[in-house]
């Protein structure tokens, strides 16, 4: 995105940062969705970071100076969102739950990116029987219900019972196994495309090693679409974590707050009309996933010229290129649809 005026390099730099660039590029409804998504995601991350300050009680706290909280208390001044069937404060567990979710997202996404990108790169670059085997394996895993696979991995890792670190890692690794094929497919496809480009050929001619070509020439160009998968996978990670928690593979309530576990506990409350134990953790999941999905989908649409909303004809057209003081025409890096 060329800035219209001759700006110092550092001022131009923040405007070309991945997300900032897309916000500037978007208009109208699309910008609204992207910004709403960014705000929701920011609230989620801030809640996770400042949970100890925001939450009125600890996630595993059952009593304070005045004695036990009591089970299934309806919302009141002491417990703004009421208490659960186990006697925990709902508000505190919703806020602390952001930490668990964020932790699982970060671990799961990092692990699956590293493994998926590496496998995709090697598989696409070298080809051969290894490539064939990996493609068939990843296709098989990809087509299988993610939750069932996550259940199997959770059994393996934690035997179905979980401490804090064990439970979080179990959830994160189960999710990783499910996500590796997605990164693998994308990176492999890009690698196959890029490795036949002229610049890779040139690098090979001047004697660059395979490793150097893979990292410097192929990987750098193959990671274009990763931010999109990343946001969408982060939201899937939360849903998988909650699903595992709902089936009883969650983290024990004394180890950490986890929304899926709380929803499982509230299942019987609903029948007797107790709504506050299920609504709030559920809404927390929905808002977090909504935020991440809005960001991911907006980025996706903006990257696809067919779906990008365009400024109406007659509105100020974006300059096709701007003249720098030196007289050279600088083309915009915006893809013209």
């Amino acid at each position: 995105m060329a800035t219209g005026t001759p700006t110092p390099a550092r001022r131009r730099s923040w405007r070309t940062l991945p997300v900032v660039r897309q916000v500037r590029q978007s208009i109208g409804l699309q910008r609204g969705m992207l910004v709403a998504g960014l705000v929701l995601t920011a609230v989620f991350v801030l809640a996770a970071v400042f949970a100890p300050l925001l939450a009125p009680y600890e996630f595993g706290q059952l009593r304070d100076g005045d004695g036990p909280f009591g089970a299934q208390q309806s919302p009141s001044a002491d417990h703004l969102l009421g208490t659960t069937v186990g006697g925990y404060d709902v508000l505190s567990r919703v806020i602390w739950g952001t930490r668990t979710a964020l932790f699982v997202i970060v671990v799961a996404v990092l692990l699956s990116i590293v493994a998926g990108v590496l496998l995709g790169l090697v598989s696409g670059y070298f080809g051969g029987w290894l490539d064939r085997v990996l493609v068939v394996v990843c296709d098989a895993v990809y087509a299988f219900p993610a939750l069932l696979l996550a259940i199997v991995v959770a059994i393996v890792i934690s035997g179905g019972q979980s401490s804090l670190v064990g439970g979080v890692l179990a959830a994160a690794i189960s999710i990783t196994v499910v996500f590796i094929p997605q990164y693998f497919r994308v990176v492999r496809a890009e690698t196959v495309r890029i490795k036949s480009e002229a610049f890779v050929e040139s690098a090979r001619v001047i004697g660059a090693s395979n490793w150097r070509i893979m990292v410097r020439h192929v990987l750098r160009n193959a990671t274009r679409t990763l931010p999109l998968i990343l946001t969408l996978n982060a939201s899937e990670a939360i849903l998988t974590l909650a699903g595992l928690g709902f089936l009883g593979f969650g983290i024990q309530p004394t180890a950490a707050a986890e929304w899926g576990y709380d929803l499982k506990q509230s299942l019987s409350d609903v029948t007797s009309g107790i709504w506050w134990t299920s609504i709030f953790p559920g809404v927390a999941i929905v808002l977090t996933v909504l935020g991440l999905t809005l960001v991911g989908e907006s980025l996706n649409d903006l990257a696809d010229p067919r779906l990008r909303s365009r400024r109406a004809v007659g509105a100020v057209p974006p300059p096709a290129g701007t003249v720098e003081p030196g007289g050279a025409v600088v083309a915009t890096d915006e893809v013209v649809a």
Binding site: E190, L247, I285
Partner: protein, 369 residues
């Protein structure tokens, strides 16, 4: 290019264009469809083999299932006896080979907790899950496709914004939370629909006494010909079907919207318009129809989503299907049953994906390459 490119051309939609150096694809004149179907059919076997193998080694890496289920509850010598009886003391590779042999004969093991063959669990509870999945797909079609068309038609206007947020909400909401909400509003507060189960007790007893129960309750209820039972069964199905169906409806909505936007911008729609084709005919015949073909392909992937979602939906609504049963076995730590059900679902997913691909190939010649 110094390396020979060996492209695997089957089955990976994410693949980019093949490298220019790659061997040109064989163009088999009239046999295109036949050879495509054959390759696609043969691919079922490695898929099943990989999943069954993966699940087997994953589950065994934690130790034997008998210790997992009964460890601590039985004295050590009895435990060892049970382990030896079941053959879990043999080398892993021997266990694996005999397991593969069993699976090839269609034997997926016997559950530890209630001593039932896993295949019998499937035949008893599979029908309920199938029934739920069909209802959910109906909800997804009825909600997702028309709304997707509307969103594309009103692209970037207010209705589009509302529909897109609705679509995202559909898959941002975990199915079990959607289920809880529906239960709370329609079953508890409004008291319009039953809270849980597949039928009320009275109706269920009548359905069990049928001569040839299919265990698909709607079919069984129609057999009785009793209007009250039919409406009872349908009432029980509404909330679970909506909870599970909305998930897929959101995906359909988004897909239809994207595709209709694509076809509306296509050259042949422009050409038809310039020929004077009326607007409604234009939408129906030229924009909507080709946009629906990708739905068929997506259904293949949705089957996996539906099965995963069914486990959660059935637990929420005590819908006694395969997913509900799986959750029960999980709680009982009966990992033989879990492994058996998961392996069997792998077979089902692979086979249904094949069927969906065949249908897609028959409808859309471009799929066959």
């Amino acid at each position: 290019m110094t390396t020979t490119t060996t492209e695997l051309t089957e089955s990976s939609p994410a693949d980019g264009a093949p490298a220019p150096g790659a061997r040109p694809r064989k163009r088999s004149g009239g046999g295109g469809l036949g050879s495509y179907l054959l390759i696609r059919f043969l691919l079922i076997f490695p898929t099943i083999f990989i999943l069954v193998t993966t699940v087997f080694f994953l589950m065994r890496s934690t130790g034997d299932p008998i210790t997992a289920a009964l460890g601590g509850r039985l004295p050590a010598d009895q435990l060892a006896e049970r382990i030896r009886e079941a053959g879990y003391d043999r080398p892993l590779i021997a266990q694996y080979l005999s397991y593969l042999g069993d699976v090839l004969r269609g034997d997926f093991g016997t559950t530890l907790s209630d001593r039932r063959p896993v295949t019998q669990v499937l035949t008893t509870f599979g029908a309920a899950t199938f029934e739920l999945a069909v209802y959910a797909l109906i909800v997804a079609f009825v909600v997702g496709i028309p709304l997707g068309m509307a969103a594309a038609y009103f692209r970037d206007k207010a209705p589009d914004a509302v529909l897109r947020v609705f679509a995202i909400l559909c898959y941002a909401t975990p199915v079990f939370f959607a289920g809880l909400l529906l239960k709370l509003v329609f079953a508890v507060w409004l008291d319009w629909l039953p809270v849980a189960g597949r039928a009320s007790t009275g109706a269920e007893i009548q359905l069990q006494t049928l001569d040839h129960p299919t265990n698909i309750y709607l079919v069984d209820a129609l057999q009785t010909g009793d209007g009250e039972i039919i409406s009872d069964v349908l009432k029980h199905a509404v909330l679970p079907a909506v909870a599970l169906g909305l998930l897929t409806a959101g995906i359909f909505l988004r897909l239809v919207r994207t595709n209709v936007i694509g076809t509306l911008g296509a050259g042949y729609v422009e050409a038809a318009r310039s020929r004077g084709v009326g607007e409604s005919r234009l939408l129906r015949k030229h924009a909507y129809r080709p946009a629906l073909i990708p739905i068929i392909t997506v259904i293949g992937l949705q089957i996996a989503v539906l099965l995963g979602g069914a486990v959660l939906t059935e637990t929420t609504f005590e819908w006694k299907g395969l997913g509900f049963q799986l959750a029960q076995y999980l709680t009982a730590r009966d990992f033989v049953a879990v492994q058996g059900i998961v392996a069997m679902l792998a077979v089902i997913v692979a086979v249904t994906n094949f069927i969906v691909d065949v249908i897609a190939a028959l409808i859309d010649p471009r799929v066959r390459y």
